[in-house]
Amino acid sequence: MRLKDISTPVPKKDHKDKVSGQLPYISDVKVDNMVYGVLYRSPIAYGKIKSIYVPTLPEGYDVVGAEDIPGPNYVKIIKQDQPIFANEWVNYIGEPILMLVGKDLNTLYGLRDKVKVEFEEHQPIYTLDEAIDQISSASFVSYEFGKGLDIISAIEQDAHQIVEEEYTTGYQEHVYLEPQGMLAVYKDDEIVVHGSMQALYYIKNALLSALACGDDEVRVVQSPTGGGFGGKEEFPSMMACHVAIAANAVKKSVMLVFDRHEDMVVTTKRHPAKFKYRTALDKEGNILSMCVDVFLDGGANEGLSSVVLQRSLLNSAGVYNIPHFHAKGHVLKTNTVPNGAFRGFGAPQSFAGIESHMGHLSKYAQLDPLEYKRKYLVKQGDPTITKGNFRDPILMEEMIEDLLDASDYNKKKEEFQRFNQQNLRYKKGIGTSVFLHGCGFTGSGERDHIKATVKLVKSKDGKVLLKISNSDMGQGIYTTLSKIVAKELDLPLEQVSYPDPDTKEVPDSGPTVASRTTMIVGKLLERAAKKLKAEWKSGEEQEVFEHYVHREMIPWDEKTFTGDAYPAYSWGVNFVEVEVDTLTGIVKLEKVYGNYEVGKAIDDRIMKGQIDGGLAQGLAYGYLEKMTTKQGKIQQKSISDYGPPTSLDVVPIESKLFDNPYADGPSGAKGAGELTLIGGAPAVQSAIEDALQTSFQQIPVTAEVIMESLERKLVNRVD
């Protein structure tokens, strides 16, 4: 198949193996001399380990713990604060202390029940609010930037009024279809770690540190990965350390796979957050200044939280050009499961908050929320809140106009008003969100930390192989990246292939995160293909490499939080219509619209997959999915208790793409994976608010939250 327009859909490269059920995921794999591992985890939230008792183990069973780690006892991520096996302090319920390995899982479970650990218990911090009360000791990291507070307080002095709001967002669990799993294959001269993952070289670097070994003694191979959503960015590094250390210690291959229950209670989640807004308005409701305080619940260790906070802050003003904006943010420690990467990476929290706040401010101007938001939309050439620049064309006005037409917004508002007056039980509403997503790593991450390299290998018979470290986790990059290379080389798509990445074979093209793969890695591949085409010699084996080149803009300075935080932005608008049952608080989605601008889609159907999946996940974050902790323990341990949406909860999503090719993306493409999630929650919240003519200061707006608000309204009316 030859490609004319790159956006024309093609069958996915892994389609047949997946739909036929033939693709072996890690838990399907068995190798010679393989044993299973089970982890003994801390039953307490915070304390010091006094003693560890392990029962006598039968022949062929072993215990692996901190003393078996050849290198330092931490999972290499950013800070050295996450032990591989906790041996002094435990900081959350579920923290791994030791691993039992052996042939039979049933025997292992029985042995694990007999392990006893004595602790000296200390007072844990269970909630974000408790951590905020002890902010000086609980803060992992903080940033502050924007207009000087002296200027803002002068503006506030003269303002007509100051509006203050607090807003909270909850946990979100990834619920990838395939739970986490990792296998270390023991060989005499190397340990090969296979598993479900998004970031091969994060794992390899963590293993080099933990095993204190040479570069050729450890190897990481990605297995087919059944969904990631960020949950397989940094978390798998810890599991990889567990199996590799165990394999090294017992000289056998070691498999560690979680069942859904274990996965739900111990793996990373989206950071719960709290926002405090303080906005000065003039008489007409125009914004004079805005201050935002962001607090993220980091959980028990820092992990990637500092970078999550950066993205959260960078998106704290949404898509708006707010005069006199100031923001400050903290990541706080609590004695709960560490929170980490999740599709959107801090941005969904911020967008939920700012969209909610702007919607509420519109009342002071007596304007429709969308009309109010449009007054502040950023335009090409506007500065960013970090003194960077929106230098590329912005199509938001066009995208909004299109949806106003498509949804018949104004007419629908009137219709709903009439419906709501007549129907005592059900109320209808329509809500909107406008949003963006910065593509690629925050700030100078691509240039300073990732330094991506890609490689193309051409065989004698003219076949081309992609040698990169990025993971197809279902999002379709086996197909899209192959298309980019095939198009540039003018080859049939069948002649281009992308084998499962293996660190022995592929250079570090960076992790599969941050909406960077298509735009950054895809562009490098496009350039590599161009180079290969120029040097093409028939009948010869050839290799070409390409290295990342930074688009020079306003240099990013993390200390002052100034400069261009991202090379490019993707954009979106969502409209959502709901019907709310006022007797039960149940929300029914009626219509969902999405207009997106991602430069140029590499494959329209794969993009539609990102839109439908991302939006369903984003909508659910706003009203359906609810996870809570009680005394440091996750309460929802099954999919049915947590409640991600089923096909009966989502309606067909009417979406459209707007082309706006980006010069530094392959065929003009920008990032798309995270963008699609971001608008869901704020749009559904505003639709519920519209239906009930009330306001909420939190997501998820669950049936419980709705009923509480309706009851409060009732009481106030009686008073």
Binding site: Y36, V38, D104, L105, N106, Y109, V257, F258, D259, E262, R425, L583, T584, G585, I586, L624, K626, T628, Q635, Q636, K637, I639, S640, D641, G643, P644, P645, T646, S647, L648, D649, T702, A703, E704, M707, E708, E711
Partner: protein
């Protein structure tokens, strides 16, 4: 290695009953609750502490038939089969459609839902307002008990070890003139466990209430139903007066005592239960269904 278990799968009900008479067994109809209840960790089969008897294939337990105005439903009829059966009342079908998802509905049975005796059992509120009777069969013969006597507490039922629940009888259900509603409130539209559920039954003649019944699920250890409260409304003119409605809602306010758990809150459950009750009582027109 997994431990060996004993399992029986007889061709006929009488052989099954005589085995049950000899030995206390775990009865597996669809298995959709038993398998979850006895689930082990990953990679280890469920541990069922008794010998297992499979009854899902016994055609004697799958018959659905009418006898006078009563409907008899074989306990091993799957939800999927009941949805296809023209004798099954619409309200019961609507309740069945809210259960799990098609795959589970192809395995799960009505008898299983009763014997599992979950406080959130999806068919239970309706079966309570239908005054369902249960036919229990053993080598000693048959006996019939009311569902409200059979279900004693969460996962506790009045079944002797040698008995099988053979039929569910819905008395007079095929008589015309009654209106039945069912509402299940879950966290999502499929594969959800009820946070609250409500069933209401009403029959009106000559603008007076002939018969009225209510049952609430997931707001107590078993279904909440009160014959005493129902009696207060018999013979009342319909539509009901505001005072009558307030007094019934106030009565249930006294007896509905839900709990907080990982799925919802006590406050929510109570508010919604009473809202649904009031809505049912307030409805001024009923089409028999």
């Amino acid at each position: 290695m997994p431990e060996k278990i004993t399992a029986y799968r007889f061709d006929y009900l009488d052989e099954t009953l005589s085995q049950l008479n000899k030995e206390d067994c775990a009865i597996v109809a669809g298995g959709t609750d038993v398998m979850v209840l006895h689930k082990s960790g990953r990679g280890v089969p469920p541990k069922i502490p008794k010998p297992v008897v499979f009854i899902d294939h016994l055609s004697e337990l799958k018959r659905v038939y009418q006898k006078d105005k009563d409907l008899h439903i074989g306990s091993c009829s799957t939800y999927g089969e009941l949805l296809e059966n023209p004798l099954i009342p619409i309200a019961l079908k609507n309740a069945i459609k809210t259960i799990a998802a098609p795959a589970i509905r192809n395995r799960g049975t009505l008898g299983g839902n009763i014997c599992n005796a979950s406080p959130a059992g999806d068919t239970l509120p309706l079966l309570y307002v239908y005054n369902a009777k249960l036919l229990l069969r053993s080598v000693n013969g048959d006996r019939v008990v009311a569902i409200s006597d059979f279900i004693q507490a969460p996962r506790r039922i009045g079944r002797n070890h040698n008995e099988i629940l053979a039929e569910i009888i819905l008395p007079s259900v095929l008589e015309e003139g009654s209106h039945v509603v069912f509402e299940k409130i879950g966290n999502r539209n499929a594969d959800a466990i009820a946070k609250v559920s409500f069933a209401g039954y009403i029959r009106i003649s000559n603008e007076r209430i002939d018969d009225i019944r209510f049952a609430f699920g997931a707001v107590g250890p078993t279904m909440v139903r009160s014959i005493d409260i129902e009696k207060k409304l018999l013979g009342k003119p319909f539509p009901l007066s505001e005072t009558d409605i307030d007094s019934i809602v106030a009565d249930f306010d006294q007896i509905i005592r839900p709990i907080d758990d990982q799925r919802s809150t006590a406050v929510y459950r109570k508010t919604v239960a009473l809202n649904l009750l009031r809505y049912f009582l307030n409805t001024s027109q009923y089409q028999p269904n």
